[in-house]
Symmetry: C2
Subunit: 201 residues, 2 copies
DNA sequence: ATGGGATGCGTGTAAGCACTTGCATTCGCT
DNA sequence: AGCGAATGCAAGTGCTTACACGCATCCCAT
């Protein structure tokens, strides 16, 4: 039961309850991991009866999997333009990718970490989570190969892709250790160091 | 009871049982996390009775904390030479640090990940785990400041430290996504890109 | 040989967990 | 009005878990 607009109270739609449960599940899962997440607590936080949760998802495992899928639903939607092909300016290409990747990863930092840590006991979440980044990595490698053949960048494409993505990855993941400058700054600095570093000064 | 050498079977010392329990705890903890780690399984793997485990550590929480401390006991032992001060060659300084850091982090990759992921529910392990890296980070920052004042490197010391350590960090943590070249190669490449990148070509 | 410390062993307990079931209720739709 | 789908509610089941306790056993130092 949820109050909606200026009308009287109406019943939430099944879709609504479903997404409320998924959101609650995520909030608790990133705090406590799989074993630490109890169906009771999820139901409570979603303001839903525990039985309803099971009626929707069958069991806890399926719930968590649905939660992962839900979180990654719109991954990589705005990457098409970048990967259409090399444009004139490598620096601005990379900067665009950097900003998008930084924001995308930051929005799911907690899930990314948990999926890495829980990988040995539950590869499901890991696989869902890393699908898009893997694609990006491969595409970026191809991008460097192409740009390389045009003489726009130097160095091994695989190593370059590894390092460039690694720089972004490290910034998002290690923010609690290394502090948190804003993403624009990081993106600029990354592209700068990187292109300079591989000899595009 | 453990057979030792060609002599007859002798009883293991308390110290011995203690470390056996700690090792078993680590093996299971990195696979299953805190909630997933059961005292029964740890005891089993350590070939020790469950009661013995409690007699040694009191409770599960204390056991895990002891395990973290034990794992970090010898952290940063061979960093003194590096941080004695700037030597003639920045590149070889950094390369030395890189190789040591890469090996150190790789040996504890699983624990590092888990400590990051479990941070919100249990900062204890996190704090133990990240003590040395934090120190390294600060010292590296100071190193860059000093080297900078001598005109050996350019750029903001904090940003430089962040980026350099970030590159290493990303390589160890992301190895399953980005593949795993060997550490010597990574160290060389990192120092190279980095120094080039900040303008020390 | 003997006493004390460390360990094994079994049993027990109280709590928490995923998941089920049967029934009452409420809302939207025709 | 009335049907059906979605939900609430309460009680329960069977399993696992951390942790406690009492007692027997074994080793080592005196």
């Amino acid at each position: 039961m949820i109050t909606k607009g200026s009308e009287s109270t109406i019943k939430a739609s099944p879709e609504d309850t479903r997404t409320r449960i998924l959101e609650a599940a995520r909030e608790i899962y990133v705090l406590k991991g799989f074993r630490g997440t109890t169906t009771r607590e999820v139901a409570e936080r979603a303001s839903v009866n525990e039985a309803t949760l099971f009626r929707h998802f069958g069991n806890k495992e399926a719930l968590i999997e649905a939660m992962f899928k839900n979180a990654c639903e719109h991954d990589g939607e705005n990457l098409a333009e970048f990967f259409a092909g090399t444009t004139a300016d490598v620096a601005s290409d990379l900067r665009l990718l950097a900003v998008q990747a930084l924001h995308g990863m930051a929005a799911k930092r907690d899930l990314i970490l948990i999926s890495l840590a829980e990988e040995p006991r539950d590869p499901t979440g890991f696989n869902i989570m890393w699908k898009t980044p893997s694609v990006v990595f491969e595409r970026l490698q191809a991008y460097f190969a192409q740009a390389g053949s045009q003489g726009k960048v130097h160095g091994d494409p695989a190593m370059n892709a590894r390092f460039f993505m690694g720089m972004l990855f490290a910034h998002v993941m290690g923010r609690c250790i290394f502090g948190t400058p804003n993403f624009e700054e990081v993106a600029d600095y990354s592209v700068d160091i990187f292109l300079n570093g591989i000899g595009n000064k």
